[in-house]
Assembly symmetry: C2
Homo-oligomer: 402 residues x 2
């Protein structure tokens, strides 16, 4: 079996943890697997390198910052290969150049385009564990790039796809994907299986176990993902295209507090108004999430939407500066709000989910600000202070603890 195993920075933060991971790899290798390992930089090393750069130049070129940052993963893979050697496991470390991990040119946030798997195949054929730097690539200029947040997950999935691996295991500090954040919902339960689409909705809604891009890629290339703990042998959660049919309506509850609601009040009620508002934001690369448009009244209407908190100031400033052109009466925004969502492939064929969600919010005396739904998700925007209450209420209402 060919398996790609990805370990994050905490899993390789020090000597002891490096050997924990090495023993884990050893087990799989000695069981006869072909093993490809993807590693992040050790512990907080990426942050340390960023600080070092900013101390020299508060606004370093992204190209040079990537040149610096990639030393982090290279350090991890070299040390891991040395640790494997202590355990008698033959291995070789490779960086993005050696793997020919081709990406787009955009430094700091590049996208993977193509991997030449020849070198990896060659090393696997010689019965070596291949230890590869996550998070990084090279662009057409032969310059180093990094993939942005969650990049190592994406590296692992891309390698699994390119090598037609039997599975791609993502090791984290939790045991898998839960029906809700176990720190908030005491009754939260680890899921055995979840679909790519559910995982995508959970990730984008702040469950945060896997990065969206890696799940999208896994879905596209049908890579079987497993999310499991690096600290114990529990089986984890399998992410795949279809899960067994006798499943529940809703598979999980997620919350996201990193939200600001912005309202543009008293817009002229005529065609093209919404387009002008969102076109303005899109051109500034501001991602808009939930959108609510009021019904027109006296020739005027309101548009509300949510953005992530770090984008709020820029969005407000843009709208402020375009007040005349957009022709609205006033701007309003609120930061102390949160999105709470229920997600489940099962709800596609069941129209009662949204109603049950609203009912349980009502029963818990939680006021709903905005509503947004997709085929497999119902999201409500509520006051931030009600987040934990809302999550538990939804978890109970959909019987997720069983």
């Amino acid at each position: 079996m060919l398996v790609v195993k990805k370990f994050g920075g905490t899993s390789v933060a020090d000597k002891e943890r490096i050997f924990n991971v090495a023993r884990r790899i050893e087990k799989s290798y000695k069981a006869g697997d072909d093993v490809v390992v993807v590693l992040s930089a050790m512990g907080k090393m990426t942050d340390v390198l960023i600080d070092q750069a900013k101390d020299i130049n508060p606004n370093p070129s992204k190209r040079e910052l990537d040149m610096l940052l990639v030393t982090g993963e290279q350090t991890s893979v070299a040390l891991m290969s040395m640790a494997l050697s202590v355990l008698g496991v033959p291995s070789i470390s490779l960086n993005a150049f050696q793997v020919a991990m081709h990406t787009t040119s955009s430094y700091g946030n590049a996208r993977l385009k193509r991997i030449d798997s020849e070198r990896i195949r060659h090393e696997l054929d010689q019965k070596k564990v291949v230890v590869i730097t996550g998070f990084q690539g090279v662009n057409k200029y032969d310059d180093f790039t990094t993939l942005g947040r969650g990049g190592s997950d994406t590296t692992a999935v891309a390698l699994a796809a390119s090598l037609h691996a039997d599975k791609c295991e993502i090791y984290t500090d939790v045991e898998g994907v839960y029906t809700a954040d176990p720190r908030v919902v005491k009754k939260a339960r680890k899921m055995k299986e979840i679909t790519y689409d559910e995982m995508l909705d959970l990730a984008s809604l702040g469950a945060g176990v896997l990065h969206n891009r890696s799940v999208e890629m896994a879905k596209k290339y049908n890579v079987q993902l497993v999310v499991r703990s690096s600290l114990n042998e529990e089986e984890g959660t399998i992410v795949k295209e279809k899960v067994k049919v006798e499943r529940m309506l809703v598979s999980g509850v997620a919350a996201d507090k990193n939200v600001t609601r912005i309202s543009v009040i008293g817009l002229e009620d005529r065609p093209g108004v919404a387009f002008r508002v969102f076109d303005l934001l899109a051109k500034a690369n501001i991602n808009v999430d939930m959108i609510l448009q009021s019904i027109g009244r006296e020739g005027r209407k309101d548009i509300s939407f949510t953005v992530t908190e770090d984008m709020a100031d820029e969005a407000l400033e843009l709208l402020e500066n375009s007040k005349e052109r957009l022709d609205y009466q006033k701007l309003d925004h609120r930061t102390n709000v949160a999105k709470v969502s229920v997600v489940g492939a099962g709800m596609m064929s069941n129209p009662g989910v949204a109603a049950r969600m609203f009912e349980c919010m009502y029963n818990s005396n939680i006021n709903i600000n905005m509503i947004s739904t997709s085929e497999i998700r119902v999201t409500v925007l509520i006051d931030e202070k009600d987040t934990e209450k809302a999550m538990n209420a939804a978890h109970d209402a959909f019987g997720l603890e069983d």
Copy 2:
């Protein structure tokens, strides 16, 4: 003017020093030069990385150790490029892959074979300072190698040769090449010029300003080397093929305490005996320096030679194990000895140098153990305790202070 400037680890050890170097580069760049910079890893970073590796694996694979070590120079070049950017100097950092710095395969001690200067030319054409990792290369497997001690000097000279640079400046913490170590010989004087051959003899004799391999390469490709201080604007010492004719007999005095003398006593006095002794050592990669063979007496003779101290145990063990085959009576060795040499291209045409050297040792009451000479060098092996006295005596005898 195209100039290659090499700065060692101490010169880029911290933020302040990085900016010192950056300002130095800025000056040259703003004066209109095309500038290629070669950097070592910051301060003690290479040692720190080696310790980190040995903590994981006391005997790490050389391939993986090189994979780890090369992150050191990559960190330096990225930070230097960021610092140059603060000063408004456009620059780009490149590692061994990007420069295509091809070496032999031997990890930890690779030799440069070929540099593709295309990328560097391209960046220079865009008026960028090109900041390149010293000490490292890539072999035919696309794996990182390191060049061993003094490797960054060699990188700089190789780049200067490949780019047909007008000069190659090696910045160090001394102001140039001296007639003797100024810490030992108070009257030591900085030389304006010195020939490659003199520099080679001085380097191999423990003066240690430049690594031998870099000087050999400079001689081979006729690269004009300048050794100068990174701390001030002094002119330094120029190393080139020929220096002005009205020069002195002797240009410098060097000493080397890293010496052990080994004597093989009572060898059978017949042809092939010396060959068998030195062939044995050569096959174990033990470099032998001074050699003295006594005149045979009663069918037996003695052979004495020197090796560096770290090689002494291995050499003695080898000889011990071959006692029967070599047929000698006993082994003897001394560690507290030192080589003191006078070096000078001028002595080629002047046979009196050796005599004057022996005379000044005699006048200082220093006993000579062994003697070895080349066309431009006279070396005596003496008791280690006499080293400083011998250096000063020779410096005086050859009038080097003027």
